[in-house]
Symmetry: C2
Subunit: 698 residues, 2 copies
């Protein structure tokens, strides 16, 4: 593992903004306003150059030719502080000039940010009306009330203003000094609404706690036992032995720092890693053995609509990327806690509300992992086994969205495959429920605590460049052959390919084994003449349940189809639209697809959705075990054979496994037997590997 700095005078067009660039941009924007205008910055981030320009740059970069000059630009949005004047600007850092700076129209609202969320929490709790309502609960002296601000959501009812809905909880009243008490185990039925402009409580919603939507006056709160997740409240298991991942010669990857971005090289893979406020980790210019595969890979959006139809819960429909930002919420990953083995960390910088720089240390961890056997075959006639392990490269980022976390990772393997893995964990968003009540839209996970069903729908953006920027989108289906003289026994079936000619949303169909592929017909497989392709393996899931007239449906423009394919347009990165906070639809991928543009042998972008309908189990509380989703991208006739065929065989001299003693807890002397490699299955002199079909009588 080597990190080295590239000596370049130019900044790479896909490199995130540096700290000094962020500061310059803020200064340029501030200067464009009268002195002492107080701006509340929401984002200062890289304005990626037009793809067509970047492609030329990449061609020069990979061809070691002289690099074209591309102006460096930043995208900014901001409020005039304490107003609803929301602006969007582009600053050209190369010229030092403001390219554009416009006030955005009505119904366009900025995401939350760190300063604001902390402020809103406080406003909710310090409001005299809220205090009076809380007093009716007759809580023990010293009880800590916690306020979780939620993006207000949209339903078209008096929601043109930018608002916040706070849900309130208690820390364990019997243990009030415990700052890490799980307040989600003690929800209270009071929910203040706060104006984002005036920062005042505009309304206090009381929450329904029965089976219907009756609102009862606030009354004495029955204090239930706590349900803590931090380890000092558990009787921890004592029988787990350490398991260490050791790379005595270091890791197999190389990170080359190039300004604010990093070039990663590993096992014929090569790509550039970026990071921004909205998407967090972004991969650019992904190549295998120098062959271009993907221009840009990123998590584009996610939506989490909740099942409780009662006010104000019906507005719970989070877009965590657009409402806050996966970059802004990225955890500072810690050695030995979040990643196991030999780890390289990437850090970044983002802007904050004042236009200053926020340091984002260790937002991405990079390591290798063993993923079991990669491929194996035993020749039963000779007993010789050939086996390789599947080593993976992992780039992981973890985001905390108030109660919930997502562990997001790109995985690369030695067979030319890329996987996007989503782990959902963290704490369920809870609300109070009366004892003895059951509802069909949620699960009681603790006395007095309801965890409402909700969907998690993720949208992965795949901007391909398989052997060049012009690709097409097709799908294979398998169909039974009709009976005929050619198929007299009714056993035959065929696979046919269908070309997707216009932009749109398309769905999986397991009854026909429908498999989507990104293809380049101008490059053919040298053996079988098929166009080179990558297929998409995505899990099936239940699409958005909210009805088609609902705001939920209109806003989550990606949530109704397994895939969307559209013609590429610069700036169309976010499948739920650029501004999701209190959005009203019409600005995301469904709208782009409705242009019905041709998508054959042109610059296309594919959005792949995955999801779960999370019907909470009590086992998901107080923190849920990870639920894992994976989207795979796998080569189809892109190579001329298994690309992992050249992985060195899995051998004991390399793997240094240990045979456990049959008598002792400790690894035994047997451990050393294999170390000369003699027991290894790949050595020709090895013992008969496979007993199948071989007569083993002596």
């Amino acid at each position: 593992m080597a990190t080295q700095k590239v000596a370049t005078s130019t900044i790479h067009p896909l490199a995130p903004l540096s700290a000094s660039e962020i500061t310059s941009v803020a200064s340029i924007i501030k200067t464009s306003w009268p002195a002492h205008t107080d701006l509340h910055f929401k984002a200062i981030t890289l304005e990626e150059p037009p793809k067509i320009e970047v492609l030329k740059y990449l061609e020069a970069e990979h061809g070691n030719k002289s690099l074209p000059s591309i102006n460096r630009k930043a995208f900014i949005n901001y409020y005039i502080r304490n107003t609803n004047k929301f602006h969007e600007a582009v600053v050209d850092l190369t010229t030092g000039r403001v390219d554009s700076n416009v006030l955005l129209g009505p119904f366009v609202h900025a995401p939350g940010d760190g300063e604001e969320i902390v402020a809103i929490e406080k406003i909710a709790l310090e409001d005299e009306g809220v205090k009076a309502e809380i007093a009716k609960l007759q809580l023990p002296e010293g009880t800590q009330v916690i306020s979780d601000p939620w993006i207000y959501g949209s339903d078209g009812v008096n929601d043109s203003e930018r608002l916040w809905q706070c849900f309130l909880y208690l820390r364990d009243p019997l243990n009030p000094s415990e700052a890490d008490s799980n307040h989600y185990a003690l929800p209270i039925p009071i929910s203040p609404v706060i104006c984002g402009v005036t920062r005042k409580v505009v309304r206090i919603d009381l929450l329904p706690t029965g089976a219907d939507n009756t609102i009862k006056p606030t009354q004495k709160y029955k204090i239930q036992p706590p349900n803590e997740y931090v380890p000092e409240y558990q009787k921890l298991r004592t029988d787990l032995k350490p398991l260490n991942v050791v790379q005595p010669e270091g890791a197999s990857f190389t990170v080359t720092q190039d300004g604010t971005s990093n070039i990663l090289s590993w096992q014929k893979w090569r790509f550039r890693v970026g990071f921004n406020q909205r998407e967090g980790m972004v991969l650019y210019d992904v190549r295998y053995d120098t062959r271009p595969l993907f221009y840009r890979l990123s998590l584009s959006d996610m939506n989490i609509p909740y099942a409780d139809p009662r006010h104000p819960f019906h507005k719970k429909s989070a877009f965590d990327l657009g409402d806050v930002g996966a970059g802004l919420m990225a955890n500072n990953l810690q050695l030995g806690c979040d990643c196991l083995g030999s780890i390289h960390y990437l850090s970044s910088v983002l802007s904050n509300d004042t236009g200053s720089v926020t340091s984002m240390p260790n937002v991405i961890c990079i390591h290798e992992q063993d993923a079991g056997i990669g491929w194996k075959h035993t020749n039963y006639r000779t007993g010789r086994a050939a086996v390789v392990r599947n080593r993976e490269l992992v780039l992981q980022t973890i985001i905390t969205v108030a109660n919930y976390e997502y562990i997001l990772a790109w995985l690369f393997n030695q067979a030319g495959e890329v996987t996007y893995e989503i782990r959902a964990t963290g704490i369920l968003s809870t609300q109070p429920i009366d004892e003895g009540v059951e509802v069909p839209f949620g699960t009681v996970v603790h006395p007095g605590v309801l965890a409402v069903h909700h969907q998690h729908i993720f949208s992965l953006r795949i901007d391909p460049m398989l052997e060049g920027p012009n690709n097409r989108f097709v799908y294979d289906e398998a169909h039974a052959m009709p009976r005929s003289a050619f198929n007299p026994h009714g056993t035959g079936y065929t696979v046919s390919e269908t070309l997707v000619s216009t932009s749109g949303g398309y769905d999986l169909d397991f009854s026909t084994n429908r498999v989507f592929k990104i293809q380049n017909t101008s490059v053919r497989n040298p053996i079988n003449g098929k166009p080179v392709a990558y297929k998409i393996q995505a899990p099936e899931f239940q699409k958005m349940l909210s009805d088609k007239e609902s705001f939920n449906y209109k806003r989550a423009e990606f949530a109704d189809h397994n895939v969307y394919v559209v013609r590429h347009r610069d700036g169309e990165l976010f499948s739920g639209g650029k501004y999701t906070n209190q959005s009203r639809g019409g600005t995301g991928v469904r709208s782009w697809a409705e242009r019905k543009e041709g998508v054959v042998d042109t610059d296309i972008v594919v959005f792949v959705q995955a999801g779960i309908n999370h019907v909470p189990r009590i086992e998901d509380f107080p923190v849920m075990p990870c639920e894992i989703m994976k989207i795979h991208l796998k080569p189809v006739n892109f190579f001329d054979r298994n690309p992992a065929l050249d992985v060195p065989p899995s051998e004991q001299r390399f793997n240094k496994s240990v045979a456990l003693s049959t008598q002792h807890h400790q690894p035994s002397v047997v451990a050393t037997v294999g170390e000369d490699g003699k027991t290894c299955c790949a050595s020709t002199g090895s013992k008969l590997q496979c007993r199948n079909m071989v007569d083993t009588r002596v």
Copy 2:
């Protein structure tokens, strides 16, 4: 890790037959025939006692009460050698008597075995007619022809006799001394058919090699380049660094040998591991924290029908468990090759054709693995993260089925979850194709080589005993609420449960998020009153494509539904029927389900299917990268909270991760920084973990 022998005078009723028991049984059966009758044994295996008796035994075993006496019995099947007289017998080892011994009717054929397969290979190649046909290929002197015997399959056309179909291939003619040459890269169009009784070639099929079913006379064979998979023919990668898994204090599990079976204890899990010829690894009496979960878990069957409708390929429809046996084909697993880390191996014994004992060393490997983060939550207000890793226990077995391999594993985790993982790898079954020809039922993977599309459909048998032997089978579905005063914005949805009252086949439906659960309504969750349950998470797949009148469909009785639920009957273990070789249907799970028995609060068995329609890519040749399928069993309201909450926090002092240097390939001095645990996220004094929503301005 400790292995210790239990001192018992009685043999556990679920323990596999010992070597001496196998020998005794063979001797008892031989004695039942006139002297010198030559018997060809196909199986000598444990006849499991009636479940009702074993349940009483288990109750006594776990209650430390005196153990009931259960007679020890063996199941045997055999031919009078070189006849079609196929017998099935049960021997009582306790009394030394033959309980039953019957000649089986027509259309019932035994599986292949090691002796037979090697013999059939040889017969095909030594036949004068076959030699004459091969001569027409005009192969270079010294070319090695390889014969792969296939189970004949059924189509109702002159297939009442027990037959073998051999497919022939060449080792690389230019390198004839290479015994591990990949002959599947050089298929020839000659296919001898051999009688299982007379062991003579009864017919030589010539294979169609064009796009239609024309058969051309055998002609000079065009020798294409080889496509080898063994490492000495590859230019191996040189940039992969070692990755070792080290458990300095040994592993966390305990294996207690109890006669021929083994009791495994790990992280509150406890179960018994068995092994037999047909199913290979079987788990019995699976309990978590002493609570019963599963009486028996096993891979019940699999079927691999091929898409080419042309004779004789239309008969390619393998049932690898019933046609040969997952136990018989189990690999002898090698340290450092097939498993990484600290490994414990289990060995077993099986019978062979003479009734003698075949030693089966290292057929199961057991180890722990790290499976990433188990759960995590960061309190953004305090910055404190709580995180645990997900340690898994793996029991792995690998089977080689001539060209193909399956890596089969049970995985247990600390959250009460069980996963069955299937990895498909090995070499595609190939056939010759004329150059320039394309067919819609296969992919050209090498010049002159067609890999035909095929389905892999697996059937997992789950015999539950959730908190007792009487369980029910239900499914949840999520449905949108209609608009109403209660659901004015069209966002609500509910989850409802449907009881499955009669035995039958049932299907997944992602449009309703249908989730199957095994439930015990007599035991309720103490918090929310819901019945304890385990849900089944299985991937969707395309069901059997062969039409409903086909022999393929009739034989693979499990291949048409995602799940089957039936009332338990002793002996009904194999969802494709007891004898799959040239079977004709009517003896598997579809037939059992058609009894339409009540399955509510009774002793039920669930068969869960998973599969892939394998449309070969050139990347799947010469050995395919693993394709992975997983079936998960997860608790639903079975515990009263996340059962992994008591897993010790993920800490650097335990995990000993290494921060990679920014300058060097080697792990750096930074590696030791975290070793005192101070950087660890779970320690209360830790640095702020999570940047989200926290104002980080200084």
